[in-house]
């Protein structure tokens, strides 16, 4: 990864290729116009390249610095690390990153299961089964899209204590599920609506109850959107901060976003280890995104467009 990414940042050759490959559409344009267009085109490419560098460089700096030692961080901030010091990652792991990592995985996985399952059930009920008060429920879901965690923070503090799940994984799992059900249900509902009604009819003729039809026919047909929903929930739960900050007080139960912040104040000037911790936290989502890019984007655009 470290060796191939800088290569991507050189936009020079593709520039030349495209401007040659696409001759300017000249109907009645003079040379002047073509020159201006050429200049504009170069400016556009320069802009795109600079933006790509501005986006990538901080991340590369993070990865490079996590292999350096403290003096190297100061002496050669721009360069590659002199050697690959994997020990920094081990130190970051011991300083708590591994613990936070495990917590994040637990909470994320559990909330993916509950969110996707409950949302798929709700979508099925709303789209296929003519649930009473379906309109009211849709209204509630729509309103739920707009309600923000921050506003609910103080009452939830009391509520979670009354339910005796404050300062436990359950607090986060329950909240991550509840606050993401509206979005996920709309996402799955939009997809289910597009499945023709004949599918249900056929299942019924084959002797399926609605429950069997859901598990054996509808749910498998929804697989693409379920994958998208799961990925987006993973992104949300892995990165969520407010709830994790307020509702977990035991250090050993903290998830990555809050744990990293704690670590920052604990490690202070051990820069390479801090960079290593950041890299470890960022990597899973970047990898997941690069693998499942198409599903990610489908979820985002479908969820937002309908």
């Amino acid at each position: 990864m470290t060796s191939s990414s800088p290569l991507r940042m050189q936009p020079a050759s593709p520039v030349a290729r495209t401007s040659l490959a696409q001759p300017t559409p000249s109907t009645s344009t003079g040379t002047m116009r073509r020159v201006t267009l050429g200049v504009a085109r170069s400016a556009v490419w320069l802009g795109l390249a600079l933006l790509a560098i501005a986006v990538l460089y901080p991340l590369l700096w993070m990865v490079f610095s996590s292999f350096k030692d403290n003096s190297e961080v100061f002496a050669s901030p721009w360069g590659l690390p002199g050697e690959l010091r994997w020990g920094n990652f081990a130190k970051a792991g011991d300083a708590g990153v591994v613990r936070y990592f495990v917590n994040s995985i637990l909470v994320t996985t559990a909330s993916i299961l509950t969110t996707v399952l409950f949302s798929a059930w709700a979508a099925y009920g709303l789209v296929r089964l003519r649930v009473p008060f379906a309109g009211t429920m849709l209204g509630l879901l729509l309103g739920g899209l707009m309600l923000a965690p921050t506003v609910a923070l103080i009452p939830l503090f009391g509520l979670l204590q009354d339910l005796r799940i404050y300062d436990s994984y359950w607090a986060l799992i329950v909240l991550y599920t509840a606050f993401r059900i509206p979005f996920t249900t709309f996402l799955i509902r939009a997809y289910m609506t597009d499945i023709p009604g004949e599918v249900d009819e056929a299942a019924k003729l084959d002797g399926c109850t609605p429950t069997q039809a859901f598990w054996q026919v509808i749910l498998p047909m929804c697989r693409p959107i379920l994958v998208s929903a799961a990925l987006l929930q993973a992104l949300f739960a892995w990165n969520e901060f407010v709830f994790a900050l307020v509702f977990i007080s035991t250090g050993d139960l903290k998830t990555l976003p809050v744990g990293l912040m704690d670590m920052q104040s604990r490690l202070l000037t051990d820069w390479p280890v801090q960079f290593a911790g950041l890299t470890m936290a960022a990597l899973p989502m970047i990898v997941l995104f690069l693998i499942g890019q198409r599903q990610f984007l489908r979820g985002l655009t479908d969820g937002i467009g309908k």
């Binding site: 991507r8 495209t18 696409q22 085109r41 795109l48 933006l51 790509a52 986006v55 990538l56 460089y57 901080p58 991340l59 100061f74 901030p77 409950f118 949302s119 059930w121 709700a122 009920g125 709303l126 003519r130 649930v131 429920m137 509630l140 879901l141 739920g144 707009m146 309600l147 923000a148 921050t150 506003v151 609910a152 923070l153 103080i154 939830l156 509520l159 909240l175 599920t177 509840a178 992104l235 892995w238 990165n239 901060f241 407010v242 307020v246 990555l256 976003p257 809050v258 990293l260 912040m261 960079f275 950041l278 936290a281 989502m285 970047i286 997941l288 995104f289 890019q293 655009t301 467009g305």
Partner: protein, 295 residues
């Protein structure tokens, strides 16, 4: 087949979702309104009813207004970047870049959106750090050393530095949304405009911009409400400091609730946030409805 009893039995399918939604999303919002009328802290046995006193405290509190102003600046800058710059970026990607490279660039620009705000925030606080950070060194290299700052440590630059980080993180995300909207424009429109001799700039303003209007509205709404809910970035990078200069409504709420233990006042701030986001949501619904009547 669908008798009343089977219809009612089907409620079981939506029940878990609805119960969670009502208990953990709706109940707290309503309860918050009630709590904002009391003076109480986490240990008080019996909160005392104080009417609208908490709101009076808010409106007389200079830091509340600093926070509100910071949220507003956040919203304005984000609108310019997330709507203006992103739309241009998306249009440029679709217009000038051929397929393979376009995919690569889109992926690159999107990456910051998948790392957590905490990671991005800590990373940028290192980047702004006067001792190890790249920003001051970069300014030094290009001869602008007089522009160097302790970016997060000075009241004048802290908020701006946080806002800049947030733009870095989300510009690729909104650009992708615009890319999708642009791809939904029928190809023939652009072909026809080209035949008529319209250049890329002309086509952007008279074709692309009007055709993606719906997405523009949506991104505007998301951006504005996001700006008034901002919390994580500020908490990680400055926690509202130095001397409350980068306080936003979310962090001011958090500080009052969980550090100053003035829960009643914090609930009032939460209600203000709620009213603002509700207003934005209602605008969204109104705009959506108007559009439907238009067609």
């Amino acid at each position: 087949m669908s008798t009343t009893s089977t219809r009612w039995r089907s409620v079981a399918w939506v029940l878990p979702a609805m119960v969670l939604l009502l208990v953990f999303v709706y109940y707290p919002i309503v309860e918050n309104l009630r709590l904002s009328l009391f003076s109480w802290n986490a240990f008080s046995v019996s909160p005392t009813f104080v009417g609208l006193d908490n709101y009076r405290t808010a409106f007389g509190d200079p830091i509340f207004w600093t926070a509100l102003r910071n949220n507003t600046v956040f919203a304005i800058v984000s609108l310019l970047c997330q709507v203006g710059v992103s739309l241009v970026l998306a249009a440029v990607l679709e217009e000038f870049v051929h397929d393979r490279l376009r995919g690569v660039l889109r992926t690159i620009y999107f990456i910051p959106a998948v790392i957590s705000i905490t990671v991005a925030g800590i990373l940028f606080s290192f980047l702004y750090n006067p001792r190890i950070g790249l920003l001051n060194r970069l300014l030094d290299t290009v001869g602008l050393d007089s522009w160097q700052h302790s970016w997060l440590g000075e009241p004048g630059t802290a908020m701006g530095s946080i806002i800049a980080m947030s733009q870095w993180q989300s510009i690729g995300y909104t650009a992708i949304l615009f890319v999708v909207a642009i791809q939904r424009i029928p190809k023939e429109f652009h072909e026809a405009a080209k035949v008529d001799g319209a250049g890329p700039v002309r086509r952007f303003f008279s074709l692309t911009v009007p055709m993606v209007r719906e997405m523009t509205t949506l991104v505007m709404i998301l951006t504005i409400s996001g700006a008034f809910l901002v919390f994580n970035e500020v908490m990680v990078m400055t926690a509202g400091g130095p001397s409350n200069s980068s306080q936003v409504l979310g962090t001011w709420l958090y500080r009052n609730a969980f550090l100053n233990d003035d829960m009643g006042y914090a609930s009032a701030i939460a209600t203000v946030i709620f009213v603002i986001t509700l207003g934005i949501g209602l605008v969204q619904i109104a705009v959506g409805r108007r559009r439907r009547i238009e067609y």
